[in-house]
Symmetry: C2
Subunit: 79 residues, 2 copies
């Protein structure tokens, strides 16, 4: 089973990478770009069948290792 964990910054946390990407895109002529947020994704392949159990385990992984709850949010998506 493949699971995508996407780690994003919480509201109010500075995202210079996103801000600079937006600036660069605007400078390249992409004037429609209003905002860019940079995020990190981990695609986790698990040897597990039960979707509910997999989700619970990945939740645990986020809390223990993948995300910093002070500044980051995470979303879990079974593919």
């Amino acid at each position: 089973m493949e699971i995508d964990v996407t780690i994003s910054l919480k509201k109010g946390v500075a995202d210079p990478e996103g801000a600079n990407t937006k600036k660069a895109l605007n400078l390249l002529g992409f004037d429609d770009v209003v905002d860019v947020k940079s995020m990190k994704t981990f695609r986790i392949e698990m040897d597990i069948e039960d979707e509910k159990k997999a989700r619970a385990e990945v939740e645990e992984m986020c809390k223990k290792l993948l995300a910093n709850p002070v500044i980051q949010n995470y979303t879990i998506e079974i593919r």
Copy 2:
């Protein structure tokens, strides 16, 4: 319109971040984890209505700035 661009490494390109994350998860007791791939996501907010046009523009952004075609693949997803 919000569009997610996910940049992943091409097959055969070393992914030490993913490999080390996998190792760390296994060491933490998550034995079901078989593989971890690290990827980058840009969430782009565009002031544009036409989905087809948005997708074409984002494709152009990937080619010009966001992805390195030598080692990276990208997927575009309208949210």
